[in-house]
């Protein structure tokens, strides 16, 4: 039995290819069934996210498995099967275990430390186990992977540092307002990044979203999409009385919000704090407003500065995490090895038991009038001999295994006893 991972990710395959191969949750059960129909494969999990498509399998034959999986990928995506191998990676046994742990702990992610991947793996595992395509090995692998991911998150600061502009905006908003519930966000303009930031703020609990755009149609459309309300652009300063967070990303070439007018507004607001994020280039909010009391202004460079600094911190944390993964991998591989020992021990016992039964029967027929007591004595005697003989080899093979030199010895053992 081998543990094999076959897949491709953002490092090995371009997005155009990943798009074609990626699977939706609805397609996965059928794919799982196809994989399992290959006689070599005993267990299987399919993980498909926007950055990776991976098949975790337990199988007899590595080559056949890789081939079967490539066939499935090619069939569903319309890509030539021969073109696939250079995008694929294949990890076996120890490497496969390490890989699974690294993926679950988000060390293999495009943005190291992002938290979504764990949920995605859990989902993949749930689907596989609903379709009964997991067995003892993958079950244990997944549970260990979840454990490792949790440990990495708890004991290293990997998730502490926010690395996307939007999440930095949310962090900052939280540092000003505490909780975001009850807060109103105003989105000016319709850049992708601003839209993303507004969405993040809303997901983080902001209750109200107002969209302003030069063209009211744009604003209305965006408001509809983000479930906010659109407002005419010339009511900008009225709105500034009520909102708490302003995300600005228009294509204007001058300041839309000036220090002078803001000063009056902040008085009227009774110093309720106001948080500006200006991600437009050139900037649309006069920088000097940040000297006003209760006004906090951050521009794109501030936010980018934070994200790149934090990215470095995450990489440092990732190095720490690799150590946990190393340890856990060894532990898992040990278990896997012991699992492979089980069949040898079982067949050894079976062989000896068969011999014993045979000889016992023969001995009994040779006795003139065996009583129940005689038979019991013979039975006990033979059983005792067999157990004592087997005790040595079985203990030895287990301890040899723990030292990691098992394979050769198992082969020898099987040869000696002809099993």
């Amino acid at each position: 039995m081998k543990l094999i991972v076959v897949g491709l990710n953002h490092k090995t395959a371009p997005v155009e290819l990943r798009e074609k191969i990626s699977l939706t949750d609805n397609e996965i059960p059928a794919v799982l069934r196809t994989v399992m129909s290959s006689p070599s494969i005993a267990e299987c999990i399919v993980l498909s996210t926007c950055n990776r498509i991976e098949f975790y399998t337990v199988c007899e034959d590595q080559e056949k498995t890789v081939d079967a999986i490539a066939t499935i990928m090619a069939r569903d995506s319309g890509i030539e099967k021969d073109a696939l191998p250079r995008y694929l990676y294949v990890h076996a046994d120890r490497d496969a275990v390490t890989h699974a742990f690294r993926v679950a702990s988000s060390l293999d992610s495009m943005i190291i430390g992002e938290a979504q991947i764990l949920g995605q793996i859990k989902n993949a595992y749930r689907m596989a186990s609903h379709n009964s395509t997991t067995g003892p090995i993958l079950n244990r692998l997944m549970h260990r992977a979840f454990g490792v991911a949790k440990k990495v998150r708890t004991f290293t600061p990997i998730g502490l540092y926010t690395v996307s502009v939007s999440s930095v905006a949310v962090e900052l908003a939280k540092k000003i307002f505490g909780r975001l519930s009850g807060k109103a966000v105003m989105l000016m303009g319709a850049g992708e990044m601003a839209e993303d930031a507004a969405k993040y703020l809303k997901d983080a609990g902001a209750s109200r979203l107002i969209v302003l755009s030069r063209t009211f149609g744009h604003a209305a459309e965006l408001a509809e999409r983000l479930r906010g309300s659109a407002v005419e652009f010339d009511r900008l300063y009225d709105q500034l009385m009520d909102v708490d967070i302003v995300v600005c990303s228009t294509s204007a070439d001058h300041y839309l919000i000036t220090s002078d007018r803001m000063a009056k507004i902040i008085m009227a607001r009774q110093h309720r704090p106001l948080f500006f994020i200006d991600i437009s280039v050139p900037r649309n909010i006069e920088p000097s407003i940040s000297s006003l009391e209760s006004v906090f202004l951050f521009d794109i460079d501030d936010l980018n500065g934070v994200t790149s600094k934090n990215m470095k911190e995450r990489e440092k944390a990732a190095n720490e995490a690799e150590q946990f993964i190393e340890e856990e991998t060894s532990r898992f591989v040990n278990w896997l090895g012991e699992l492979s020992l089980v069949p040898t021990i079982v067949s050894l016992r079976e062989k000896f038991e068969a011999i014993r039964q045979e000889e016992l029967k023969e001995a009994i027929t040779k006795l003139a009038a065996p009583t129940k007591k005689d038979i019991d004595i013979l039975d006990g005697l033979s059983r005792g001999i067999v157990n004592k003989i087997l005790h040595g080899p079985i203990t030895e093979i287990k301890s040899v295994h723990r030292r990691g030199e098992a394979l050769k010895d198992i082969t020898l053992l099987r040869k000696i006893f002809r099993i």
Binding site: Y161, E171, L172, G178, F296, D302
Partner: protein
Amino acid sequence: MLTLTVLLYIGAMGTSIGYAFYRDRKLEAASHITLIAAGILHTGLLLMLYRRTDLFPVFSMKEAAFMFAWAIAIGAILVSSIFKGTTPIIGFATPLVLLLIAASLLLRGSAPEISPLFNTDIFPVHVVLSLTSYGLFALSFVSSVMYVFQETSLKHRRVERITQWLPSLFILDDLGYKTLTIGLPLLTLGIITGALWADREFGSYWNWDPKETWSLIIWLAYVFILHGRISLGWRGKKFAWGSIFCFVLVVFAFIGVNFLFKGYHNF
């Protein structure tokens, strides 16, 4: 036991400051637990003093400083347990606690003769109320300092370091305010009980003793900033500086007045 208490306070301070630099959750938890342990020992010490003399241990500057420190510590424990993410307050509050304990140790050992004047029921109530209100003012001061710290870092956009560690402006502002809304009524009651006691002992409610005068000044100062906040919207930085300034007055009233003026207050 006193040494151990002090060591625990130092430990809580160290781990809390360590948390600021390394942002390790274990340090945060450690500072919280050490502070609680220190608080328990501190309470034990006060109880022991009480049992030894059968009197509230509040008859000298030495004892009052010790109790003041206790009030701050207990307040910090309550705040950091109740409000999520406020453990960094420990790093700011423990230095005050330690300073007060140090002051208490440096002051002359033997308590002055306890004049029968003080040995009445109402006197300990007056002292405990006043000291608890001081403790709350101290916490308001601490949150205000943290507020100014956090506000400055946000203004100067030094986001990468400090924002992760300090609580949000909202919580700090709220904390600075709430502690005052409890502290001020307590001070009011402290002054009233003091007046009642003075009436019983001296026959008049108010004697313009320096301490009395200064208490009144403090009281007016706090009323002033609370009023400003409620009716004029002085929140945030203005309020924080107000609270910091008022606490400087408190410290002066607590210690300075005794050295500069002569009054019948032992502390």
